[in-house]
Amino acid sequence: MKITGKENKQWSRLGSRATYGQAILMLAEKSENLMVLSADLGNSSGLDRFKATYPDKFLNIGIAEQNMIGVAAGLAKEGSVVFASSFAPFITMRAAEQVRMNMGYMDLNIKTVAIGSGVSMSFLGNSHFGLEDAAIMRSIPNMTVVSPADCAEIVKTVFAAAEYPHPMYIRLTGAVGFPVVYEDDYDFQIGKAVEIKSGTDVSIVATGSMVYESLEAAKILQEEGISVSVLNMHTIKPLDTKALDILISKGKTIFTIEEHSITGGLGSAVAEYISSIPNSPVVNRIGLPDEFVITAEYRYILEKYGLVGSQIANTIKQKI
């Protein structure tokens, strides 16, 4: 699925959720056996146009996430490619066991899409935040976990997911105005990290919304003579260990950055791998703390926990 910089700018304006809605709408044109499910959050998932255009491909299960996953399983078993969306905690925790049994244990071809993951739900608060969703999904065998870095990557992920015959958890961070990372088309493959920026002094491994913030941090550090590489690890599971091997061989301190708890997400996954390699560099995990976080505007929350470019740059400077 090719994208252009111009499209990415337009999608960025609409934001992550609306882009998901657009992507699945485009996918429906080519996908005969696509089924799209929602748990009374169709409008919130940017799916109103999909519902109107492909009513036969859409099912609303009402406010019943556990049932949604079970229903998705039945459909998948009978040959549909199923996308089911809701907010992160409701998919990964309310319906955790259904996810585990149907997507993990039975390896059924369901893609769950978590809209508003991380802290972008702002004033809706902790009940709606995705603080630990990647950690939980990562721990389930057979699960693939992807966190797109910008709207173009959301589109590419949706298209790639449709061709990928395994269960997947797609974690959408960012909100309206999700900043552009990719100004041009690029090669996207599930499980293959993308080096967005090369560098020689410090290695950043980031995912989702934090890829853009890492690039901002890298710009700031560049001006101070510190050369930072930024690797977009969009697929948190399976981790691209070959890309990590390259970072290990560079021998520079590694920083992982995610809009997720530092417990169990990207940082933990990277640290798990690297700690088994002799003479490997230190891994510093930057992310949300092991707490329920404050409630505020989205950017305010990110700033509170040091997750915007300038703050990331400061953290890196202090540690190296």
């Binding site: 959050l41 609303n60 009402g62 406010i63 709606h128 409630t295 505020a296 305010y300």
Partner: protein, 271 residues
């Protein structure tokens, strides 16, 4: 308060609610908040036993807003009752405030539990009701407000089944039956069927009434049952009640008031 005073308070509360939402300069769950104004007015104006100077008073009634996004009338009721001061009320949806889009547990401010994810409150209410009975506290009652969309959640029915099983006659549930949910008309999204009959078949005492009728609400909520059954009040309401352009208009499920729409709404209420 008598019923006339409650009616006046409900009217005032609607204005306060709109002002609160407008001041917050962002979207609020207006529709589903306006549908519950009479319910909250009667609960906090007359029914609930509480002591604002002693929020942990053992003999207090417990209230849980399981329909967590219904905070607007809740905060207004808590303010009018004296739990939330004017200053604190104005922190609604300000960065790092105690008053956000869902209740966050804080007994000082009158909030018994944290909510936001639907389908949790009734279970906690069952637990509290059991605890009260164990301690021989036969005065306190436990009240839970839920949405009809919320009744899509299986956990509600687990709790419902257990409440009847444990014979919790100190537990009163109120369903804000406004027949709409986030994606639209409830019958179209996920048809709940005969809601009253479902509760009845789960072993509850069911009262069906007009959820904007203060007299009926007061009557239904004051009566203590003596038949060892939990009670549910299915309150037939209108989402967006009180503001003509919001009534049954689901674009007001979660939306922001502009200067124009705020003025129009207030003008209607002040007639």
């Amino acid at each position: 308060m008598n019923n006339n005073e409650l009616t006046l308070l409900a009217k005032k509360s609607r204005v306060q609610l709109l002002e609160l939402a407008f001041k917050s300069d962002g979207p609020s769950h207006l529709g589903g908040g306006l549908s519950m104004v009479e319910i909250f007015t009667v609960l906090y104006g007359d029914i609930l036993n509480y002591d604002i100077k002693n929020p942990e008073w053992e003999k207090r009634d417990r209230f849980i807003l399981s329909k967590g996004h219904g905070v607007l009338p809740f905060f207004i009721a808590l303010h009018n009752a004296g739990f939330i001061s004017q200053d604190v009320l104005h922190t609604y949806k300000k960065n790092e405030s105690d008053l956000i889009s869902h209740p966050v547990m804080n007994l000082e401010l009158g909030m018994e539990s944290s909510n936001g994810s639907l389908g949790h409150g009734l279970s906690m209410a069952v637990g509290i009701s059991l605890a009260l009975k164990k301690r021989n506290n036969f005065e306190s009652r436990v009240f839970v407000v839920m949405g009809d969309g919320e009744c899509n959640e299986g956990s509600v029915w687990e709790a419902s089944m257990s409440a009847a099983h444990f014979k919790l006659d100190n537990l009163i549930a109120i369903v804000d039956y406004n027949k709409l949910q986030s994606d639209g008309n409830s019958e179209t999204v996920m048809d709940i069927g005969l809601l009253e009959k479902k509760w009845e078949s789960f072993g509850w005492d069911v009262i069906s009434l007009d959820g904007h009728d203060i007299v009926a609400l007061n009557d239904a909520l004051s009566h203590r049952g003596n038949n060892m059954k939990p009670r549910v009040i299915v309150a037939n309401t209108t989402k967006g009640k009180g503001v003509s352009f919001m009534e049954n208009n689901n674009t007001w499920h979660h939306n922001r008031l502009t200067q124009t729409t705020f003025e129009q709404a207030i003008a209607e209420l002040n007639l």
